[in-house]
């Protein structure tokens, strides 16, 4: 008997029982199809005719056809302990779930000693409050031993890079033009600036350079904001918190008695901007940023989004609209302001109009239309967002391409942090690697909401869409972890981009790219002469390739991490190519007859590439 009949039978039965008396109970609900009675759907509009209903039922069968999933060829292998890489970050998680504990750390991939092989640094936390830190948990520097198998040596102590305190993120650039890349670390209560001495050692200079900041720093990025040829520094600061008397959120039902307080319970703090004079001096000009602060910044990237060779700063805020800061310069070229143009560029909030909990940023030209797009990672049950760059001329403009790229739905069950728009399979199209993990263990009240989460890999199909290929990307992608920082670079110099992930609670990981690739690649290190030596914003285009194949060196990106300051151009054949290099100072160079190889150096002004 149908439910409808059961609904109505009460009144019918009552009517029968009452003899001639019919109770007017009525049956106002939906009736099953074919009942031949007008449907009344509790206020919802309805289709009336049987013919229309039949057409609707037929239409249900049209559309999507799922085909057999093909292998992506993208595959990463996690290095074991025998590689010499072993690191577990310490975040002082002793049960009180202070908000300071949950953001984790970052990783930097850079060439410490100028030997051409990329080394790895991971930031570390410490016991809280930080005044109790006795240096038991320093950050670690792993030197690449460039053996046939990837091998690392822990040279933290020998390098003097003994990072103490509660460090979070990192940024890399050769700030003093000495040929060696320096390292800036964000931290709780005082950032650190490690000058690379060029002899394998580092010296901390934050106090003397006036770049300590003193707030809770998250990500940082270098880029020449005032066009003077020196790399300036943007520090993304997060929340106003107290180490000594932290805000705690007791919850008797939670195991341990505490839950993580939400960022909404804290005030945001302003970001910091430092201008470099190129000779080791820095000037705090944080006040130049207008109309944007305070935010709750977690991610930052500096790159040219408008195609005018002037860098913009894009800041990912947690639960608040993001910033798109554009430099305003005086006639003499001095920076007079950074103006937030995110709203007019449609890049402040997503298409749904929500200020999402933005964490990591990947800035790449995903659709190869010559403009740099932005991909942002977000909170659980919210989509990651792809802002497709539609800028034209002076107009900075983005479209939310999350849905059309098919990147939205697969991200809903994840909480993303670090992200890389790497071309993992060397096909010339930027793919996406995202590392995930919740900030709070909520499994005690919602079993469907995982704490640890797997990383995800999305392959760019080259038609504006991506497909998730996590399942066949390697065993690491089957392990649920608390992923935070992510940096990429060609660690083994095989022309494929590898990755380093900074995890919480579990060991961090080096992921060696062992993808089956048809295309060849060229890995370039660009050295500025007339512009910053780490020339953030430099563009390299492979001539004669359609759609346009190019890369831009970006400052910052991902989450609290620093990718290798190199450009990776995949999708090439085994033949000679001509390259065009557009330097941030406006000069353009063409280099002819370049054959894809593993890696090379291009110095501004030099006629040819320098093999390493």
């Amino acid at each position: 008997m149908s439910e409808w009949w059961e609904r109505c039978s009460g009144s019918v039965g009552a009517a029968m029982g009452a003899g001639a008396l019919i109770l007017t109970m009525g049956c106002t609900g939906e009736q099953p199809r074919g009942a031949g009675v007008t449907e009344a759907a509790g206020g919802q509009a309805v289709v009336q005719t049987e013919q229309e209903r039949e057409r609707i039922l037929r239409a249900l069968t049209s559309g999507r056809q799922s085909g057999a999933a093909e292998q992506s060829g993208i595959r990463f292998r996690e290095l074991g302990k025998e590689s010499g890489f072993e690191f577990v970050r310490y975040d002082d998680m002793r049960g009180q779930r202070r908000i300071l504990e949950v953001n984790g750390g970052g990783a930097a991939i850079f060439d410490v000693d100028g030997d051409g092989w990329l080394d790895v640094f991971l930031t570390n936390g410490c016991v809280l409050p930080t005044r109790l830190d006795r240096g038991q948990t320093p950050g670690r520097l792993f030197r690449n031993l460039h053996q046939s198998e990837l091998r690392f040596g822990d040279c933290s102590e020998a390098s003097g890079l003994l990072q103490r305190g509660f460090c979070c993120g990192c940024a890399v650039a050769d700030v003093d033009h000495d040929g060696f890349e320096d390292l800036y670390l964000t931290a709780v209560g005082g950032n650190q600036f490690w000058k690379n001495n060029g002899d394998g050692t580092f010296t901390e200079t934050a106090t003397e350079t006036g770049t300590k900041c003193g707030l809770w720093g998250s990500s940082a990025a270098f880029g020449d904001l005032n066009g003077d040829g020196h790399p300036d520094l943007y520090v993304a600061n997060y929340l106003e918190v107290s180490e000594e008397a932290p805000l705690l959120c007791p919850e008797p039902r939670a195991p341990g008695g505490y839950i993580g307080c939400t960022p909404a319970m804290f005030r945001g703090v302003p970001d910091a901007v430092y201008l470099s004079d190129g000779a080791g001096g820095w000037r705090d000009v944080s006040g130049v940023v207008t109309a944007a602060f305070p935010g709750k910044a977690l991610g930052v990237v500096i790159c040219d989004l408008g195609g005018d060779r002037r860098p913009e700063v894009y800041v990912a805020n947690d639960g608040q609209p993001n910033f798109l800061l554009v430099s305003e310069t005086a006639e003499d070229g001095g920076l007079v302001g950074l103006r937030d143009r995110a709203v007019e560029a449609s890049a402040a909030v997503n298409y749904e109009g929500f200020g999402q909990a933005s964490m990591g940023i990947a800035a790449e030209d995903f659709n190869r239309d010559g403009r740099t797009d932005l991909f942002l990672t977000h909170f659980y049950r919210d989509t990651n967002t792809l802002y497709v760059n539609r800028s034209q001329g002076e107009l900075l403009l983005f479209d939310d391409g999350t849905r059309t790229s098919l990147l939205g739905l697969p991200s809903l069950g994840f909480l993303g942090f670090g992200v890389s728009g790497m071309d993992a399979d060397n096909d010339g199209w930027s793919d996406l690697l995202v590392v995930n993990g919740h900030v709070d263990d909520r499994t005690w009240f919602d079993a469907d909401q995982p704490y640890r989460m797997t990383a995800q890999m999305f392959q760019n199909r080259g038609d504006g869409t991506f497909r998730e290929v996590t399942g066949d990307a390697g065993a690491y992608f089957g392990r649920a972890l608390l992923g935070r920082g992510l940096a990429t670079g060609d660690l083994d110099r095989d022309g494929r981009l590898d990755a380093v992930v900074s995890n919480q609670l579990d060991p961090s990981a080096v992921l060696r790219n062992e993808s089956d690739v048809d295309g060849r690649s060229l890995v370039l290190k660009l050295v500025g002469v007339g512009c910053a030596r780490t020339p953030v914003g430099v563009r390299v285009r492979v001539l004669g390739v359609e759609p346009v194949l190019w890369r831009q060196l970006v400052g910052g990106g991902s989450y609290q991490s620093a990718d290798a300051c190199e450009l990776h151009l995949g999708g090439l054949e085994d033949r000679e190519y001509d390259l065009e290099v557009q330097w941030p100072d406006g000069s353009v160079q063409q280099i002819s007859g370049i054959r894809p190889g593993k890696w090379a150096v291009k110095q501004q002004g030099a006629a040819a590439l320098l093999p390493w």
């Binding site: 439910e3 609904r7 909404a264 402040a348 049950r381």
Partner: protein, 410 residues
């Protein structure tokens, strides 16, 4: 004088006699019916109710009211007793027998029916009971105690709001909330739902858990199935969501609310062929259709590059809910494509303001008058005067409550 023939007299007497007998029988029937109608049995007593139950209810009513209960009152008392003892299904049978138009007990019977149905996880029956109650209010004279009737109507509407929220039927909820507001200032959650229907989180795990309880009881209720499908879509479980939503359409192809949820699924997963084909068989736009369907029309127009068409649909949507940031963004995009950059920027600024207001709204509760006041000011900045006034009143109420709490502590 003409003598009557005995035969004729007999012939004339017979009909008269039969007529008398018929009158007697009819009188007896009428009297019996009248007696029966006045007795509890007049409305029928469920077989699961014992004579002891009835006796207890009669005594209880007499004690409380100093008079005998009529049939409906007895059924109500019975139902309340039974429900208290956990026999909710029998209580439902009792209240269902009371005519909704019963002067004294009609409204209360439907309110109790709705509440009992909720306890039994029967969403459909609960909603029907509320609808009957609200329809009956329109009938003159229903409810002998106007004050009590008003309370019952308000409670019923609140129940309805809960049920509609659970099923994401926001346009219907809006009507219920407006009617509720006519009765006076609403508590903070209802106020926020009334003025900002789309700014609050609407797919929570707790909500889904309640939905599951309802679905277990009524797995064939297309609207519940559709709501579950939308929940799963929001969680990224696309395959499962689509299966459920298509199933819901098959159960009730005529329901545009369900149909628009199936369309939304196709749109979200970018099955554009399926989206187009399903939209093609939907009826033409009509005023009062589900907001989600209009939104899908706006998106379909945008997909076809018909930006004017998309703008028109988004304008219609914004007229219905001007605090929906997505509608602002959708319309802004359309204006942008139509070269109307000023309008685009204006709408994007509004979306930004709404995004900021959304952060405040979450904290806006009576125990946090500051957040209520901040939300009020944000609402005022958005030109939402009525919302601002209500939120300010709530802020003041919150402050008063805090003050009196502090005084009590002293």
């Amino acid at each position: 004088m003409q003598l009557e023939s005995p035969v004729i007299a007999e012939q004339q007497w017979r009909p008269r006699r039969w007529r008398r007998i018929r009158w007697v029988v009819l009188s007896l029937v009428v009297a019996g019916a009248l007696w029966w109608l006045r007795s509890p049995g007049g409305l029928g007593i469920p077989s699961a109710v014992t004579s002891a139950d009835v006796e207890r209810a009669e005594q209880e009513f007499r004690r409380a009211q100093q008079r005998d209960a009529d049939a409906a009152e007895l059924l109500l008392t019975l139902a309340e007793n039974l429900a208290r003892r956990g026999r909710v299904a029998v209580a439902v049978e009792c209240v269902e027998r009371i005519p909704v138009l019963d002067q004294r007990s009609g409204l209360r019977s439907r309110l109790l029916l709705a509440q009992y149905c909720l306890r039994l996880n029967q969403a459909f029956r609960a909603e029907r009971a509320v609808s009957e109650l609200l329809s009956a209010v329109g009938e003159s004279g229903v409810g002998d105690d106007r004050g009590a009737a008003a309370v019952q109507v308000r409670t019923a509407r609140e129940l309805l709001v809960f049920l509609l929220s659970l099923q994401f039927r926001f346009e219907e909820r809006q009507l219920a909330l407006r009617e509720l507001r006519q009765g006076g200032l609403l508590e903070p959650l209802l106020t926020k739902q009334l003025y900002f229907p789309s700014l609050l989180a609407w797919r929570t795990p707790q909500q889904n858990e309640r939905l599951q309880q309802f679905l277990k009881e009524s797995p064939q209720d297309a609207r519940l199935v559709a709501a579950h499908g939308r929940y799963l879509l929001g969680a990224g479980a696309v395959e499962e969501a689509r299966q459920l939503l298509d199933g819901a359409v098959a159960m009730s192809p005529g329901n545009l609310g369900v149909l628009s949820a199936a369309l939304e699924c196709r749109f979200e997963e970018q099955d554009l062929a399926g989206f187009r084909d399903l939209l093609a068989v939907c009826p033409e736009y009509a005023e009062g259709e589900p907001w989600l369907l209009t939104q899908m029309r706006a998106e379909a127009a945008a997909l076809q590059g018909d930006w004017s068409g998309s703008a028109v649909y988004f304008e219609v949507l914004l007229a219905a809910d001007d605090t929906n940031a997505l509608y602002c963004q959708g319309l802004a995009r359309a204006y942008g494509q139509l070269g109307q950059q000023d309008k685009r920027l204006q709408l994007q600024q509004r979306a930004l303001q709404l995004a900021e207001l959304r952060l405040t709204l979450g904290e806006a509760e009576l125990k946090n008058p500051g957040a209520l006041r901040a939300a009020s000011q944000s609402a005022l900045a958005l030109g939402l005067t009525a919302a601002a006034e209500d939120l300010e009143q709530l802020a003041q109420a919150g402050e008063r409550a805090l003050r009196s709490g502090q005084e009590r502590q002293r």
